[in-house]
């Protein structure tokens, strides 16, 4: 579903766009394939953390977010902040596909001077609402953007995708506290709860559970969803409360680190950061392509 922006000049991709579950699921696998290609080009990258949120990227960008790729700074767009910035390789192909920048940008990925980096940079990549890289900052930034929406009287939503390990950062809880204090129903935190951080199982390093009830205790509405079920994700995003409401929303997306590649699902830790050897890469690509029509 598209409409024209208020000035009639650019096409707006509205919230709740029609997309079949098959299309969204295929899109997630396409994101995985593109990620493998990008990392191959750069020589290093975060596979399994990107694979865990591929369905989230797919449903957000091809259904849930109100976007205007021809005018990335359009004031009424929904904002999307990639708190777990190390998975930007999953976002670049999506932004290129939607027309934020030419696909040729991706050819320079990994090189000095490329507008696309391992963690997103708002100053070089169109479509990035805020830079990230240091875990724990972006939910606070999202609070600021949501507050700005209120001050400007705009009805955009601000989505922040965090990792589960990221929630070990104390600043995140300062942000969570301030979001409910200011009644920011226009703020949505999505936790890609894949259960692993760089060093091992998240809650073995430092327990962060029970996530939903912790958010609720801080004054948020929280709900759990299967982060790989594109229909459940679509329903969840479609049913978000009005941005003018007064409770921020946390979506705990239960995911599997490395989802979509058997080898990575079995050893998610090994593929947190690395480079697939050519034989492994071909095997992963074949496995994913086998699911595509």
């Amino acid at each position: 579903m598209t409409a024209l922006s208020a000035d009639g000049k650019t096409a707006v991709l509205e919230r709740g766009r029609e997309a079949t579950p098959e299309e969204l699921a295929r899109r997630a696998d396409w994101i995985r394939l593109q990620t493998v290609q990008l990392i191959d080009r750069a020589g290093l990258g975060h596979y399994s953390s990107t694979f865990s949120c591929a369905e989230l990227f797919s449903v957000l960008y091809y259904r849930a977010l109100r976007l205007n790729p021809n005018d990335p700074g359009w004031g009424d767009r929904d904002r999307f902040l990639l708190g777990k910035g190390h998975v930007a390789t999953g976002l670049w192909p999506v932004l290129a596909d939607l027309g934020y920048f030419p696909a040729s940008y991706m050819e320079s990925f990994g090189q000095i001077g490329s507008p696309l980096s391992d963690h997103p940079n708002m100053r070089t990549a169109p479509g990035i609402d805020f830079s990230s890289g240091s875990l724990g900052h972006n939910l606070s930034v999202g609070v600021g953007i949501a507050l700005a929406g209120r001050l400007h009287g705009r009805d955009y939503r601000t989505f922040v995708l965090t990792g589960d390990g990221e929630l070990q950062e104390g600043q995140v809880w300062e942000a969570i506290m301030s979001a409910s204090h200011y009644g920011l129903g226009n703020l949505v935190a999505i936790v890609d709860a894949n259960g692993f951080s760089g060093g091992g199982p998240t809650s073995k390093a430092m327990n962060i559970e029970p996530l939903a009830s912790r958010f609720e205790a801080f004054g948020w509405t929280a709900q759990e969803v299967d982060g790989h079920d594109v229909e459940a994700l679509s329903r969840t995003f479609d049913a978000l409360p009005d941005p003018g409401s007064d409770r921020p929303v946390c979506i705990v997306a239960r995911t599997m680190k490395g989802k979509g590649s058997k080898m990575m699902e079995e050893s998610p830790q090994a593929w947190h950061l690395g480079l697939l050897a050519p034989v492994q890469r071909d095997q992963v690509v074949r496995e994913i392509e086998a699911r595509l029509p």
Partner: protein
């Protein structure tokens, strides 16, 4: 210090409503921010439990005041989000919990993204030194000036603060304001013109040059005045801009007087004096340089005025150091010491 009454600000009360024997005075930060939000729709003020200073603004435009509680790092990142959405946020912070606590948020969220946030660190230096070592704020210039894209300024008087706020309001990047206490003497009859990256000459002199920043400027000026009857002619420069830095003014002072004394309520490591030394060294300019600041050691705890006395941040101590500096300079040049 001979006066037994501690002269300290209660930071949780408006400056002009201090109870008890503490200092009272115009609330220049609060007044200026209140004026700004009345004049501009894009200014918001964020506070980490520092709201007392902006009581007027809160009454005037309550929606432009965002209190975030005792959570400094969150406050900086929230400001970044507001700035990315078209606002010019002013973040109020206590010096000791400012640059040193939020260095990463300032660098990563504000400076790296070149966002127009104004970080106002009040009570810098020794202003909170009564409360313990946790409350000394003597490393912030070193931290702030090492951050790319961050402008660093330190007003030397109320009018200087107003002038720096107004002249930088449209600057697209972040600015760190280092606010000293004890800026009781107005050096500028009217808000002066500050050119980006330029020192302001406060007093001319031929025997030595004091380069001061913040409270170092009125202190240096008072020292220069003490020396005048002795026949010593000491110039004073206001290093209101610590970044970008006025290399040319330093080199000019080296050429004109050859004797430079820097004065700052900051560690001698990485601050104003160290920056002047870098400029002289980089340009292979030989000049006599003394760095008057706080030693790189555990600092004493006490009432600010007593601490300033203890560490020689007084006109008399600065004048004494200037006498020595000029004498050394003259000895090096083979000139008889004494009055001009």
């Amino acid at each position: 210090m001979t006066d037994a009454t501690p002269q300290m600000e209660n930071v949780f009360v408006e400056e002009d409503e201090q109870a008890g024997p503490g200092p009272r005075g115009p609330n220049i930060v609060g007044d200026e921010l209140a004026r700004l939000v009345s004049e501009r729709d894009d200014v918001v003020v964020l506070s980490a439990d520092m709201g007392a200073v902006v009581a007027k603004l809160r009454e005037l435009r309550p929606e432009r005041y965002v209190e975030l509680g005792i959570a400094e790092t969150n406050t900086v990142s929230v400001a970044a989000g507001l700035a990315a959405s078209g606002f010019v946020p002013f973040v109020l912070s206590m010096g000791p919990f400012g640059a040193i606590k939020c260095a990463e948020q300032i660098r990563t969220d504000l400076a790296y993204n070149e966002l127009p946030v104004r970080f106002v660190a009040r009570l810098s230096g020794l202003a909170m030194g009564f409360f313990g070592p946790s409350h000394h704020a003597v490393e912030d210039i070193a931290i702030a000036r090492s951050i790319t894209n961050l402008t660093v300024v330190a007003p030397s008087s109320d009018n200087a603060f107003v002038a720096l706020v107004r002249s930088t309001i449209d600057h697209p990047g972040p600015i760190y304001f280092r606010i000293s206490e004890g800026l009781d003497r107005e050096l500028y009859p009217e808000p002066p013109r500050f050119e980006r990256g330029r020192f302001v000459p406060v007093r001319a002199g031929t025997d030595a040059t004091v380069i001061g920043t913040g409270v170092g400027v009125p202190l240096g000026l008072a020292a220069a005045e003490l020396l005048e009857p002795e026949g010593l002619s000491v110039g004073v420069l206001d290093a209101a801009y610590l970044k970008p830095f006025d290399d040319e003014a330093v080199l000019r002072a080296a050429a004109e007087t050859g004797a430079i004394l820097t004065v700052e309520e900051h560690s001698v490591t990485g601050g104003l004096g160290a920056t002047v030394a870098e400029v002289l060294g980089r340009n292979a300019v030989a000049a006599s340089l003394r760095i008057h600041g706080l030693p790189d050691e555990e600092l004493a705890v006490g009432v600010p005025a007593a601490l300033q006395e203890w560490y020689g941040l007084t006109p008399a101590a600065i004048a004494a150091e200037l006498r020595q500096l000029v004498a050394e300079r003259r000895a090096a040049l083979g000139v008889a010491s004494g009055g001009a």
